[in-house]
Symmetry: C2
Subunit: 504 residues, 2 copies
């Protein structure tokens, strides 16, 4: 037998016709050994919800990477309401003002909440005493530890996932609701009894993904998992407030005097205006002294992306993207590495990001004479936040610095005793204010290094007296009387209790 090129070929074989002959043929695919199970895809969130057979007493979890724009927790909330399931524990990694859970709490569909951060209507509803059970507030690292240890046993995790593929792998890197790394979802994905990915973007095959299908029990495509406008708040800007800028510059001077801005160092700051001003002041020192850092970690903003791109850091370790620049960089730059909450701050994680930090810059609602910090409640006992990574980084970092003005809205931030201890004073080293800097007396090493500082080093008691002299001594507002919950430290021990607010 001869083919079209006049070559002899063995009988019984298909002769070559032309190089484009395949266009007339159908692609044939044998089953893969581990076939994609199409029954993995539920036709609706309601179908998945019903298939999970959710019963009173179960624990449902969510992550907060879509932040104010998240629709998944609200959509599941509507189903809880529709089927009127009572006595559930909700364990989202954080709760934003846009999450509509208050009615579910009041009607006792939700009777216990475990989370790391909350504010807005849900916080107020709980502070008013409406939650039948308790509010348990964890750190980001503590939440990962509680999940992996079984202390926080999750029955069903509904995980918003900006893009999924047909095999059930998921990523936050792109899709119309892209949010970047899904660091806070990793423990839920790995240890929840059942995992449902909820997405609005389906592709054939993802080349890389944070959540592989091996732990996924179902996928649901919905019209929208989130409002992009709420997912990222837009690029956070460096503060223009001259007091904030002075605090930032003094902090950079302090870090320079301590000699920590050196080759191979690592740092974390928050994403607020003063935090970014500190980062900016540190950056100027780095450029001036030609210093290259090892990594920056935490929630990442475009400001750190720029520093990575300028070669000022080798890597970013990103547990949560705060803006679109961070999402884009996470998608494209191999040195911008997504990490899980466990890799970020689990006390039992070997070489967690927080344990490798040279310094961290944090905020405070209150700080007391023992350097205990409160970022959970305000002066009136309202719940306005929570640890997030505060206690994790404060413990891990070699130097923990709180930056704050002496008063906020005329309320002193230094107190004899903080209302709520989020982070123990033993892990808080320095307070930088616009009028002076206080060093935790436990850190004799730092006091010694700063003995010839050109900055104004004072005791925290002196700073408190100065505050009283300026703003007067505030009237004590008593705690509420009804205990509504408690704060778990990162190892699961209880560091403080929460009471209803006397405001209500």
């Amino acid at each position: 037998m001869k083919n079209s090129l006049n070559r002899e070929i063995p009988d019984g074989l298909k002769p070559f016709q032309s190089s484009s002959d395949f266009r007339h043929q159908e692609r044939r695919l044998i089953p893969e050994k581990s076939p994609v199970d199409q029954s993995l895809f539920y036709p609706s969130l309601e179908a998945a919800f019903l298939a999970m057979d959710i019963k009173p007493g179960m624990t449902l979890s969510f992550h907060h990477h879509l932040r104010s724009g998240d629709q998944v927790i609200n959509q599941v909330g509507e189903l809880i309401s529709k089927y009127d399931i009572k006595g559930l524990t909700l364990a989202p990694s954080s709760i934003f003002p846009e999450y509509r859970l208050s009615d579910l709490i009041i009607r006792q569909n939700i009777t216990q909440i475990v989370t790391s951060y909350l504010n807005g209507p849900v916080a107020d509803t709980i502070a008013k005493g409406h939650l039948a059970g308790e509010l348990i507030m964890q750190t980001h690292g503590g939440r990962a530890r509680a999940i992996e240890s079984g202390e926080l046993a999750i029955d069903v995790a509904f995980l918003a996932c900006p893009v999924v593929d047909k095999s059930g792998n998921g990523s936050g890197a792109y899709g119309k609701s892209a949010c970047g790394t899904l660091g806070y979802a990793c423990s839920d994905w790995r240890y929840a009894k059942k995992v449902i990915l909820v997405s609005d973007t389906l592709v054939d095959k993802l080349d890389s993904y944070q959540l592989d299908h091996s732990h996924v029990d179902g996928v649901v495509m919905v019209d929208s998992i989130g409002d992009p406008a709420g997912i990222v708040a837009g690029t956070t800007k460096i503060t223009r407030d001259p007091i904030g800028l002075k605090i930032a510059e003094d902090t950079a001077t302090l870090l320079t005097e301590l000699g920590v801005i050196r080759n191979g160092f690592s740092m974390q700051t928050g994403a607020g205006g003063t935090s970014l001003a500190v980062a900016d002041a540190v950056k100027k020192v780095m450029l001036k002294n030609q210093v290259k850092g090892k990594f920056a970690s935490g929630g990442i903003t475009g400001y750190y992306v720029d520093m990575l791109n300028q070669g000022l850091f080798e890597h970013l370790y990103d547990v949560q993207c705060f803006d679109l620049e961070a999402v884009e960089s996470y998608h494209k730059n191999k040195n911008h590495i997504g990490i899980s909450a466990s890799e970020y701050g689990n006390p039992f994680e070997n070489k967690s990001a927080v344990d490798r930090l040279d310094f961290v810059i944090l905020g405070a609602t209150e700080i007391d004479l023992d350097f205990n910090v409160n970022v959970t409640t305000d002066a009136f006992g309202k719940i306005i936040g929570g640890s997030g990574g505060h206690a994790d980084t404060a413990h891990g970092a070699k130097i923990t610095i709180i930056t704050s003005t002496l008063t906020k809205a005329r309320i002193p931030i230094i107190r004899e005793k903080v209302r709520t201890i989020t982070t123990p004073g033993s892990d808080v080293d320095i307070l930088v204010t616009e009028r002076g800097i206080a060093i935790n007396p436990l850190r004799t090493d730092l006091l010694e290094k700063l003995s010839h500082s050109r900055l104004k080093i004072m005791t925290i008691r002196e700073l408190l007296d100065l505050t009283y002299a300026i703003a007067g001594k505030p009237k004590e507002i008593p705690s509420g009387k009804k205990r509504i919950g408690y704060l778990e430290y990162r190892d699961g021990s209880v560091i403080d209790s929460l009471y209803d607010s006397p405001l209500y």
Copy 2:
């Protein structure tokens, strides 16, 4: 009850002691829902081999990413010999001179071989007529197609994997035997009935991997999967031969006259000295005219990595890393993307890399008056290579250029008829030699564009006559008489037969 910070906490809960109290505690981990099956790990390659219950008639496959340094095919070969299993089909993606399979062929342990490229002792053993069954030579893209369609049904794939994690995910990105992308292993991994990863580097958890555990049936840790010196041949250098450089410069001039070096273009060349010289000449045009290309593809060398890093290309699509610079870049640069053989050249793959190429620069052992190209056998009928991606890229690329000197070791490369057709002339557009350039008459569009070329455009017949005038007309060496196998075109049709060499 009060904790160490003198805070009231609910009874029955663990009071906070100190922030470092966790150091006295044990980490607790509940089982993951899809637990890592530790029975996945075999204690030895022999144990895995025996567990696979390999019987006569079965097909075993391997990839060739460790190239000359591969030890896995040799280690499995020793087990085939030890247990004297007869009648096996071996389907490695390529066979290098260092692969010790000749005795297994002679003793009929291996009776059929399916591969895309081979040379050295195994090729000679087959050309001498020792293979009981047939040698089937495929293209890289055709191999992927044959595997996914079930035409090449693999019973057990032994896949060398430079790093694996405890869950059974594998990557070539690092480890002591790092080889970069594992593009030629992907079809085997996905479709083989059983998949064994053989590695010499174990880590707890890989953040990204090309081969996920879902298709893996077993993992074996061995002392060494390969000799690093043989894995990468060292950086390939641009030729210094003035004839090679002239061919490269003429090729770049030709491409410029054809107007294809423009923003958004894509290209592929081989990794040989003249190919890199063409790439270098193209690069100079790009720099001069400020052109940025979309991608370069194929086997990737450090030369292309530099071009990526200089911003001359948006992406590299890499099915195989040819040197350490490529391995390093694949590991670190998100724009250096590993692709499977299917994504590279499967005729049925939508938007395969080859189908998106503007031009490809290829070599030839022989090219005939119909532009058919032979890269499989030499003038004496010895098997010296095979298609690899030759026929895939020649078909996919908009312009296919063969660069060669008119004679090699005094043997003309232009023939009336090539001994073996690897790539049909319908897919070969231009031959660039040191004495002139021939355009395939089928490409009237190219002939028209080059009608005012300042290069020496001739017919291929004229180039052949010129060769005869210089080197004389070579004596015809007849084909062997015993058919030893055949060449499958990328769609599985048979494009030519292989005969034993008259040399032996």
